[in-house]
Structure formats: C-alpha cells, structure tokens
C-alpha cells in the first residue's frame, strides 16, 4: 500500500519538469500508441541488424553475387546455388564432420556434466571450491583455448603427449593429436568437452537442486533403493534441464567455428572442417557470396527446424 504513496510525489515532480509541449503531445497519445513509441527504437534496431540482413541473405542466395567484384554484373541463378550445395561432396563431408562433432561432444558433455553435478550436489567438504575450479575452462575465451591447446597437443613439447606417454608408455613424439587424421576429430571433441562440460554441469546442478527433498523422503519411507530413486526421481525430474543443456550445446556446436579454426584450421586435410569453416572459406576466402548465402540459409533452416522440433519435445517432457 505504501508504494503508490511514495511514487506519487515522484510522478508529480516528473510531470512538473516535463516541458508543456511534450506533455501536451504525450497526453494526445493512446496507451497503445505510447507502447509502440517506446518499443519502436528496439524494433528498428532489430529490423536493421537481424531481419534485414537475413532477408538480404535470402535474396543474395539466388544470385551469383561476389562481394569482391563490386563492378561485376549480378545475375539471378534461381535455385542453382542450393542445388550445387546439396550435390557438393565436400559440403556433405563437412556436414558429416559436424554431425560427428555434435554427437560426441553432446553425449560426453551430458554424461560428464551430469556426473559432476551429481557429485557437487552431495555438498561434500570443499564443494564450493571445486565448483569454482571446474567452472574455469568455461570462463576462458575460445580463441585462447584454441591457441593453448595447440601447444598442449604439440608432439614434442606438449603436456598432453607427455601425459599420454606417461600413462600408456607410447613415445610422446610418436603421435600428433591435431596432425593425425584419426586423432584430430577427437582432439577437437576433447577440447570442447573440457571447455563446456562445466556449463552443462551448472544447468544440471540447477535441475538437481530444484528437486524437493520431500520426494526423496517419501521414497525412503517406501524403502526405495538409491538406484531406484536415481532412475525414478532424479533423472526424470532433471530431464527438462538436461534437454535444455542439449539444446544450448547443440545450437552452439552446430555453428562451432572459433576454437576449431584456431586449433586445426579444418585439417589435417579436411578432417575437421566443420560446416561453419566451409562456410567461412566460401564466403570470405573464395568470395562466392551468393553460394555462401545459400549455404548459410541451409544451415539456418536446419538448425532452426531441428531446434523447433526439439523445443516441442522439451515442452512435452516438461508438461508430464
């Protein structure tokens, strides 16, 4: 009750200092018009930096436009760019590399992230300290992570190879994580898992802490085992959070660029060339702007479509 009383003098003094001309104009506006007036700068900004570029990209995707040929004539090519992308074996190789990266990073991050969250939730002595330590990789810039893992993976001086040599007895300089066709895809997965598992852990921890303790107490009364409690209470109640983490990491990793670009540059050969790296090469190195616009639209539609289907599934799980 006291709040309107204190706000009234403020409103009155604000009204007093408002110039009469402005006040008269505002008084003439309906609430709806006023709302539009306030929202319109944000809307204009959104249109200018999000919607317009998107529409422009769609338009360019049907042309042979090249941004490095400002003087060349731009011709419409219909759906040729889309057809050529979908028939390009290199694009499919990149999509396969992306799918491999996506599948394994999400799987590993969910398993390890949930496991860590489950441990941290036990509230053992020093759990706050360990939570902070675990979160450190997530706070680093992907550019820094990419660069320093390049050194860690260095066959002759890298700590990773030394650790592997210590544990397995294989000579440190006999293998190269980012230089080997077989190991490079796992090298980038390893770094992503190292960096982003803490993020998944945080989301899972929020899920675990949202489960009311009385449910576990009721289960104890019913003599449900720990194992049974885990599968019938913990996992189902945490599932919406886990699914949310999958959605976030899925979208992020589908467009993964910075870390992989710095770590392997898509190599060796094209082994770790994810879709985003292919897109960057087409757009800003080969300057096939029309073609790369079509590729960007395909990627956008793919991730948007999959995310929508996923969100519907998530809502179904939440409503259970």
């Amino acid at each position: 009750m006291s709040q309107p009383m204190t706000l009234l003098p403020i409103a009155e003094s604000a009204a007093r200092v408002t110039p009469e001309a402005v006040a008269r104009r505002v008084r003439g506006l309906s609430d709806r018009a006023l709302a539009w007036l306030f929202v319109s700068p944000a809307m204009a900004l959104l249109l200018a930096i999000n919607i317009f570029p998107l529409l422009w990209t769609v338009r360019l995707s049907f042309t042979n436009y090249r941004a490095n040929r400002p003087n060349a004539a731009v011709a419409g090519v219909g759906i040729d760019n889309y057809v050529s992308i979908l028939n390009d074996p290199d694009v499919w190789t990149a999509m396969q590399a992306t799918a491999h990266f996506l599948f394994w990073t999400i799987l590993l991050e969910m398993v390890i992230g949930f496991g860590l969250a489950y441990l941290i939730d036990r509230r053992f002595r020093g759990h706050s300290f360990w939570t902070t330590v675990i979160l450190i990789p997530m706070m680093l810039s992907p550019a820094i992570v990419g660069n320093f893992w390049t050194f860690l993976y260095q066959p002759q001086i890298g700590l990773w190879n030394y650790a592997a040599a210590f544990l397995t007895g294989i000579p440190a300089s006999s293998f190269s994580m980012i230089g080997s066709v077989k190991l490079a895809p796992w090298a980038i997965i390893n770094v992503d898992v190292w960096m982003w598992t803490p993020y998944v852990m945080l989301i899972c921890l929020a899920g675990l802490r949202s489960i009311p303790t009385y449910i576990y107490e009721a289960a104890e009364v019913d003599r449900a085992s720990r194992w049974r409690q885990f599968w019938t209470i913990t996992v189902p109640m945490c599932l919406p959070f886990i699914m949310l983490a999958v959605l976030f990491r899925g979208i992020e990793n589908f467009k993964m660029f910075d870390m992989v670009n710095l770590l392997t540059n898509g190599g060796p050969g094209s082994t770790t060339e994810l879709a985003s790296i292919t897109l960057k090469r087409e757009a800003f190195e080969k300057w096939r702007t029309g073609y790369s616009s079509a590729f960007a639209i395909i990627l956008f539609v793919t991730v948007f479509g999959l995310a929508n289907i996923y969100v519907k599934a998530l809502n179904r799980v939440k409503s259970r």
Partner: protein, 441 residues
C-alpha cells in the same frame, strides 16, 4: 548572442593561427604490408622519405597468416586505411580488374621510371596485368623466392661427413637435386646431435592460407608441372595432372613422410624459422626474405648456416615470392603516395633498401659486380630469381588457391587418395572456377 558569436570567431581565429602549417599536419601516408623482417627494414628506410618530403609515414603490418584476409577485405570494401599497399603478387589480377590499384603507366612515363631497370621476372610477377603485357599496377618492391638453409656446421662434422660418404659414395654437401636432398634429409632424420634428436628437413604444410601450395609447387615445377597448356590457355587436363606432376606430388609427400619433425602438419614460414632456430632441422625450405635475419641469429647464424637454391629434378624452377608496391585507388592521398613510389624507385634508395635487409629488384643493385658476394645468400637469390614461377595471378586467385590447398593437403598430410586423384580433383575445381569466370566454356 552577438557577443557569443564574436567570441567564437575570435577563438576559432586564434586556434587557426596557433595551428602548425596545414601541409605538415595533414600529410601522412599509411603503408600496408605483412609483419615480418623486411617490413621493419622498410619502416627504417622510409624515414629518409619523411625527412626529404615532410610526409609522415604510418605502417599497418599484419601477420602473414591473416595478411590476405585482412587486406583483401580492406580492398574489397574500398577501405581508406591504406594509401600504399605491398600486396601479394597473386593479387594483381583481381586488384587491377576490380579497380583497387591505380594503373601506373602514365605516372612511370612522366617521371622517367622504366620497368627495364628492374629484373624482368619481378616486373612480370609483381607489376603486370594481364601478364606479359605492358600494363603496370605496381612497382617491384620486394624480390623474393623460395630457397633453402642448412646447418653448415653439421654438414662440416668429420664423423658425419665420413659416415655419409661411406653410405652414399659422395660428399655431404648442399644438394643439387631433390633426390640428393631427400637422401641427406633421411641421413639426418632422427639422429642425435649434441644430445638432441634432430630431423631431416622442414617443408611447408600449412592448410589455412597458402602454405602447402607455396611448398609443393617447388617440387611440382621441377618435375614438369604446368598450370595450363601453353598453347591453349586455361586448358588443364593432362597438364596439371600429367604423370610428371603426379610424380612431383608423390615426391613431396615422400619427403614429408620420411624426413620432417612429428606434428608438422600445419606449418608455414614462422614454424620453419622456429624449427631451424631451435636446432631441430638440418635443412629448411623458406623465403629468401628471412635469410638476413637467420644469418644474424646468434645460435644458428654466421658460420653455422649455409644457403642453397631450390634443388632441381627434371627441370629447375622455384616458387616466386615477393611483392610490388601499389597505390590504392580509394586513397585520398594519391599524389603523396605516387611521390613515395617515385622516391622508392631511385637507385640510391634501392641500394639502401638492400643494405637494410630488403630485397631490391632494381638492376642498379642486382647487376652491381659486388652484389653476389655482398651476403652469403646473394648469389643464390640471383640464381633463384632467374628460375621463378608463380601461382595463378587471376582475379579468381582465391578460389584457385584454396582448391589447391585442400587437394594437396588432403593427399600429402591427411593421406586421402592418391596423387593422381588429388590432381584430377584439382583440375575439376579449377575448371569449374574458370567456367564461372567465363574463361572456359
């Protein structure tokens, strides 16, 4: 109100009177190039220009790995950052056709700058578009090519010399042919020298920009690779993927597999310098531009380092490096930029350029009888500049280069397919690009 206006006018007049002369204040040129040793030498050299002209020089030097990305974006966006640019030789076609560079023919004629004063290979490589026509878009600025360095002190060790002679029946000396180079590289590979494991050779393998292409072409040219049929321009089938070219590519891979340090899967100029300076390799492929710095290196320079030009195989060529200096057509300081070019073209300035560590292309420097002995690598530089070949300098240079980077890296480093398959795929990629360009039907 009137007092206010009068006051403002008085203040503005006072400020204008106190300001330095407009000429000295506004004249500044920005020169864009890669961040490497010769750029520092040019910055030093340019102090003379500032002293003589009163025009201040500002420099934008970008690391090689992002050099093309950064400055091609600048050109394509018609940016005004650079007044002068020392752009890569392969950019000349695109920069000329897209109007990024100022055509310099009239300026050269008016100021008595003759292209015949410069080494022909550098004029063709750095200035002309279309190639072999008298249309000049740059002044040859920095001559460069691929050469090799070797550990002279290791080659001179009596025990190693004796062992090598016993094994191969010849002296351990800088190789003349690629087969000899591989033999020497194998000899050093994995050997312990001064308690440290060393490796045979350092060659380019970089994937992201131009590295592996700049490396592999040295072998390809020597085996007979050509970009297209000399009688039928842009016709590449059977030329790019000829049996000789396939053999050249197979050789490069064999050299990579037998004789390089582990993990050398994405290495270019800087990594080569690191490997050589840290005493890891017996021989290093790299651009001549780095040789003055290496010669001065306290650990591996001086008497410990030797130089040799790219070895021969069936033929004898090497990959052209280097750049010309161009005036950017979007520059608001075009006259001052042309003034810099005029100053830079003078024989005396060119001599100082060489003395400071730059590689002049001017005959006044290169034809000087004292030149071959002026540094331990000067003669090898002259030899190399006589046998250079360059990558496509077409407007579609970028997709042509990226296709080669991919196909060659896939084969050499990632072990995918055969050499023939890699070059066949390259022919398909290049054919597609030239069709898109309207140069092939």
């Amino acid at each position: 109100m009137n007092k206010l206006i009068v006051g403002a006018i008085a203040l503005a007049s006072g400020l204008a009177a106190a300001a330095p002369p407009a000429q000295a204040q506004s004249k500044q040129l920005t020169l864009c190039w890669a961040a490497w040793d010769p750029a520092n030498a040019l910055a030093e050299l340019s102090k003379d220009f500032t002293t003589g002209s009163g025009i201040a020089m500002k420099f934008e030097f970008v690391p090689w790995t992002s050099f093309a990305d950064r400055f091609l974006n600048e050109l394509n966006s018609k940016g005004r950052l650079c007044d002068l640019m020392i752009g890569d030789s392969q950019w000349i076609g695109g920069a000329a056709e897209n109007g990024h560079y100022v055509k310099l023919n009239d300026f050269f004629d008016k100021n008595g700058i003759k292209m015949s004063d410069f080494m022909p290979a550098t004029v063709t490589g750095y200035s002309e578009w279309p190639k072999n026509t008298p249309n000049y878009w740059a002044l040859p600025a920095m001559g460069d090519a691929i050469g090799w360095t070797y550990r002279k002190d290791w080659f001179a060790r009596p025990d190693l010399k004796a062992e090598f002679k016993k094994k191969h029946g010849r002296d351990l000396a800088p190789p003349q042919t690629y087969d000899e180079l591989k033999q020497i590289a194998e000899f050093f590979q994995g050997r312990m020298i001064d308690g440290k494991k060393v490796y045979g050779a350092y060659i380019y393998t970089e994937r992201g920009s131009e590295g592996i292409t700049m490396g592999v072409t040295n072998a390809l040219y020597d085996w007979g690779f050509q970009y297209d049929d000399p009688k039928k321009p842009y016709s590449m089938e059977g030329v790019v993927n000829s049996p000789d070219a396939v053999a050249g590519l197979e050789f490069y891979k064999a050299l990579y597999k037998c004789c390089t340090a582990p993990g050398q899967t994405n290495a270019y100029m800087q990594e080569g310098l690191d490997a050589f300076k840290s005493g890891q390799v017996a021989m290093q492929m790299n651009f001549f531009a780095f040789f003055p710095g290496l010669y001065k290196d306290p650990n591996v320079g001086g008497s410990k380092i030797g130089f040799f030009p790219n070895p021969r195989a069936k033929q004898h060529f090497t990959q052209l490096g280097g750049q010309g200096i161009s005036v950017i057509s979007y520059s608001p300081n075009r006259d001052a930029a042309l003034q810099y070019i005029k100053w830079f073209a003078q024989p005396d300035v060119q001599k100082k350029w060489w003395a400071l560590g730059g590689y002049s292309c001017h005959k006044a420097v290169l034809n000087d009888p004292a030149f071959p002995k002026s540094t331990p690598f000067a003669q090898d530089f002259l030899t190399s500049m006589g046998i250079v070949k360059d990558f496509w300098a077409e407007p579609a240079y970028a997709p042509l280069l990226l296709a080669m980077q991919k196909r060659v890296h896939d084969y050499v480093v990632a072990d995918q397919g055969t050499a023939k398959e890699a070059l066949d795929a390259l022919v398909r990629d290049w054919t597609k690009t030239f069709k898109e360009e309207g140069k092939l039907k």
